[in-house]
Each structure stands twice: as C-alpha cells, then as structure tokens.
C-alpha cells in the first residue's frame, strides 16, 4: 500500500503520554492537515515519524516499508522529509546554496569526486542549479537566489525551507507550522506555495498548523489530535461540524476533556 500508515503509535516521556496510541494513514497525494490544541502531540507525532524521537511503541509503514525509528537521513532516501517549526536554515549559505544542499541525494556527493572535481560533477552541478532556480521560482524567491540566507525576511525563510525540502523530491512532506509567526500577507503567499507544491511536485503534504483559516482553505483532509489521541478525522467541513472538536477547542463546563485541554494549553 502506498502512503504512510501509523499503527498504534505511542511516545511517552516518563509519565507523560505525548502520543497515546495513534492510528492514522496519509495518502500518496493531497494535503492532509493535522490540528489540535497546544500540547495535543502534533509535533511529537512528526518527530516520532521523522526519526527525531524513537517511538515507545507502535509501527510506522511507508509504501510498505517499516520505517519505525529510522533516522532522518535514511527516511530522506525513501522520500520522507520535513520542515521545522523553528526555522532550520543554513545561515552561512546563499539562498540558492540552501536549495542545492536539499538536492544532496541527487548530487555527486562523493568525497573523491568532490576532491577531483571532474567534468561530470561540474555538469551535474549546473543541472541542479537550474532545478534549484525552478524551485525558487515556485516559492517566489528566484530574484533573491544569490542573496545570503540571513538577509531574507521571516516569511521568505519559511518559503525557502519548503523549496529546500522539495529539492529532495519527497513523496511525503511534513510542514511543521509553516505560517507560524507570519503576517497575514505572508500567510496568503505560503498558502499558495503549499497548494502549488502539492499539485506540481506530486507530493503528499502533511500540514501541522494552528491557523484554521489556512487549514480550512488548503486541506483535503483534516485530523484533529487532542491529548495524544485522535479526536476526529474527515474533510474540513466534517471536522468543523464535529461536536467533539468544538468541545476540545472551545470547551464547555461539563466537558472533562475540555478542562484538561485548557490545563495543557495553559
């Protein structure tokens, strides 16, 4: 079966059950949003699937391979990659070089080949530069290709991360809060970038996001996490109408769950 399937995934930190038995599948195309109150376990789920944390229990299958607990660089070779909630930019490089680094697996990255710098390597670098500029066009950064990365604005850096992630030709891309901290106009730019990326790069996008407007606008499916468990899953309108979701977000005085969510969210 293609796509990612998560079976009974548990991540415990001492007594805290950050993920407490999650079953979830992501298809091989489209945009699937993962939402939930603060502390629901969204980023933990991404970290557990992308090799940052070792899961306490459970299995993760991708395109039929068992990828449970695989380190991030091995996942990248299988086509699973991610962006980061707090920016992880190669600050010492230019914008273009950031994207070129994303092409690592496709480049002539051998030590000896680099040492000798033969014509094949030079040719490959030229091809990759063209491809990198194409990705920068996709995220509206082509004009800034030769700027140092640390000269970009925040929203631009968020887009750069997406371009770099796309360079690895992923089949599955986790975007961890891509619009957090962005202005409204930056959010609109990013929504378009994410939609274009999902369409043109044939990548399945998992979007972790707090911004409901973005989630409802771009997602094909939405899954709601609360307290390390799945609360609801469906199309955006189904999830919006689900009383359990409304309780988890808005709370009612009777709801035990809502109290806990509020406690976690502070």
């Amino acid at each position: 079966m293609s796509g990612l399937s998560i079976n009974d995934l548990k991540v415990h930190f001492g007594g805290i059950r950050a993920l407490d038995g999650v079953d979830l599948t992501f298809g091989s195309s489209g945009i699937h949003a993962l939402i939930g109150p603060n502390g629901a376990g969204k980023t933990t789920l991404v970290n557990a699937v992308t090799g940052v944390y070792a899961p306490t229990a459970g299995r993760v299958l991708f395109d039929g391979h068992d990828i449970t607990g695989l380190p991030a660089h091995k996942l990248a070779t299988l086509g699973v990659t991610r962006t980061f909630q707090n920016l992880q930019i190669f600050w010492t490089m230019s914008v273009l070089e950031n994207v070129l680094a994303g092409f690592h697996l496709d480049s002539s990255a051998g030590f000896l080949r680099g040492l000798l710098r033969g014509p094949a390597l030079v040719r490959r670098e030229r091809e990759l530069t063209t491809a990198a500029l194409g990705l920068l066009r996709l995220v509206n950064l082509e004009a800034k290709a030769n700027n140092p990365a640390d000269a970009l604005a925040y929203g631009e850096l968020k887009r750069l991360e997406i371009a770099r992630a796309l360079a690895g030709r992923p089949k599955l891309l986790f975007l961890d809060e891509p619009v957090a901290g962005c202005t409204q106009s930056e959010k609109c730019d990013l929504a378009e970038v994410i939609r274009n990326a999902a369409r043109e790069s044939a990548v399945s996008v998992v979007l972790i996001e707090h911004d409901m407007r973005l989630v409802m606008a771009v997602s094909d499916r939405v899954t709601v996490l609360a307290q390390g468990r799945i609360l609801s899953t469906g199309t955006p309108s189904e999830v919006r109408a689900d009383p359990k979701v409304i309780t988890a977000y808005l709370g009612t005085t009777q709801s035990h769950l809502a109290e806990q969510v509020h406690a976690v969210a502070g």
Partner: protein, 313 residues
C-alpha cells in the same frame, strides 16, 4: 567567456607566491622556516575543513601528525621500507585509527568533543613516549633520508620544492572539495544538523569522514616533517602542538583555506621575528595574537575579503 576563470585566480596567485618565495628568502635558515610553514599549512588546511567548515573541534590533531612522523621513522628505519610506501602506510594507519576513535567521540558536541579529542591526543603521545623500544622514548629518534625514485632528497631547496608542491596540491583539492556537494554538505551540517539530515545527509558519517581525512592529511605532513628534519620527538604529538594548529586556523580564518596558510605563516614567523625582544618575546607574541583575534574577529583572510568587497556588514 573570461580568459581565466575567476575562481582559479587565488590558486594561480598561490602558485606564483610559492615559486617566488625561495628567490626572495633563499637563505638556508629562511628556507627551513618556509618548509616548516608549508608543513604546518598542510595540517591546517585539513583541520580547517574539520573545525572551520564542519564545525567539529579537535584538540588532538598533533597526535595524528606524530603518528605520521613515527610511521615514516619506524618503517624506513627498522623495516627498510621505501619512504613513500611508509608515508602512505602512515596515512592509512592514521585515517583508520581516526575513523575508529572518531565514530564514538564525534557523537559528542562542543566542549565534550574538545575534551575527548584532547584525551585521544594525550593517549597517543603517551604511547609514543612509553614504547621506547620502537619510538626511542622521550628523546625521539633519527629518521632516514627520503628517497624518491632512487634519488635522495637532500638540502633545503629540494625539501622546499617537495613541500611547496604538496601544499599546492592540498590547497587545490581542498578548494575543489569546498565547492563540491560534499563540501556543501559539510557546511550544511555545521549550520543545522536536523535540516541536513532531513535533506538526506548522513551527518555522523560525514563528521567521521572529515575527521579521518584531516587526520590522514596531518599524518602526511608529519611524514614530511620527519624526513625533512631527519629527527622525530614525542613533542610533535603534544597537546601544545595541537593547540598551535587550532590557533593558526583561528588567526588565519576559520573555514578559509587560504586563511590556514596565512595563520601557519604568522604563527611560525612571528616568534622568529620577536626573538630579538628576548625576555619580552612571549609577552609580545601573546599581545599580538589577542589583538588579531580581537580586531579581526573572523580571522585575517575572511576579514580582509570582507573589506575588499566593501561589505563591512
């Protein structure tokens, strides 16, 4: 199409400088200083790839330099091997050893990695001192002259040519590596390990590889040193010597290949120039180093480059 590609210009300048230097400073003593600078510069280029580019500190590289020195001394002296063969055996032994100890210790970061490399260096130096039957102990041992294709390398001029040629090739290779995808991956993992891993870079394997490669280069330089001076002592493998290499690249410029050469030159020439101050030599040396590090924070070569392109950001 430019007549000469701009990125090859620094290498061409280096070639010219290397050719011109012995004609400007042709005395026996001056040549021996130039040889010493060249040998240190070779080590520094490797350490700079490890420390400056990949961001992994090492306070033990003099030990790898020492292994190269002793490999040449022992294999040529006790086993009658050809000098070149002994040199390559030294590089192989050192690289394998560095990869083996590097595998566990390169999981450490920052100060902990510094301590671990320091420990590795101390243990190696101790072995060189203790195994007196092979190494000659604390007093060191003499080294046979190097023969290449039946010709004995003798005299400062011959040694200058060999060291300058080796340095040129090392700089050429390091420049290539820096502009290759492999070098880009090194810079990437220095900037962000999580993002590098997400891009498919095997961060740990890359760290071990550059650690082993820089150790092999130090071993190569150690072999040249042993033959050029015809004598080795355990001091070459000392902690102080390791620190000296790191100071050279910090002064010259972290991450800059040419900075490695400038740093090596300054750290070797300065004490010679200051020796006329006799009692105040060390004081003046220290003050000058502090001034350089304080005024040219990024190191000499990167700071000058920034000034040259007019970007004092």
């Amino acid at each position: 199409m430019p007549f000469f590609p701009a990125h090859k210009l620094p290498l061409a300048v280096l070639g010219l400088v290397l050719v011109a230097l012995p004609f400007l400073f042709g005395g026996k003593y001056q040549l021996s200083i130039l040889i010493l600078i060249g040998i240190s510069a070779i080590v520094c280029v490797g350490i700079n790839l490890l420390v400056g580019v990949a961001g992994q500190i090492s306070l033990g590289h003099a030990a790898f330099f020492g292994i190269g020195s002793y490999a040449s001394a022992v294999f040529t002296g006790d086993y009658g091997w050809n000098g070149i063969l002994a040199m390559f055996a030294g590089i192989l032994i050192t690289s394998v050893l560095a990869a083996t100890v590097g595998w566990p210790i390169l999981r450490l970061k920052g100060h902990y990695l510094a301590m671990a490399t320091l420990g590795v260096g101390l243990v190696i130096q101790l072995l060189l001192i203790q195994e007196a039957g092979i190494t000659g102990g604390p007093d060191g041992r003499a080294v046979k002259a190097l023969t290449i294709f039946g010709l004995r390398v003798k005299g400062e001029w011959a040694w200058y040519c060999i060291v300058a040629g080796a340095l040129f090739v090392v700089v050429w290779g390091a420049q290539n590596l820096m502009s290759s995808p492999w070098g880009r991956a090194l810079r990437a993992l220095h900037a962000s390990e999580p993002a590098s891993a997400a891009a498919g870079i095997d961060v740990h394997q890359m760290k071990v590889a550059i650690f082993a490669a820089s150790a092999g280069l130090a071993s190569f330089a150690g072999s040249l040193y042993a033959h050029a001076l015809a004598f080795v002592t355990p001091d070459q493998a000392s902690f102080l010597h390791s620190v000296e290499f790191v100071v050279m690249i910090v002064v010259g410029g972290l991450g800059s290949v040419y900075g490695s050469l400038v740093g090596a030159a300054i750290l070797i020439v300065l004490p010679q120039v200051l020796s006329s101050l006799s009692d105040y030599e060390n004081l003046a040396f220290g003050v000058l180093l502090i001034l350089v590090v304080y005024l040219l924070r990024k190191g000499i070569v990167p700071t000058l480059r920034l000034i040259a392109v007019g970007g004092g950001r």
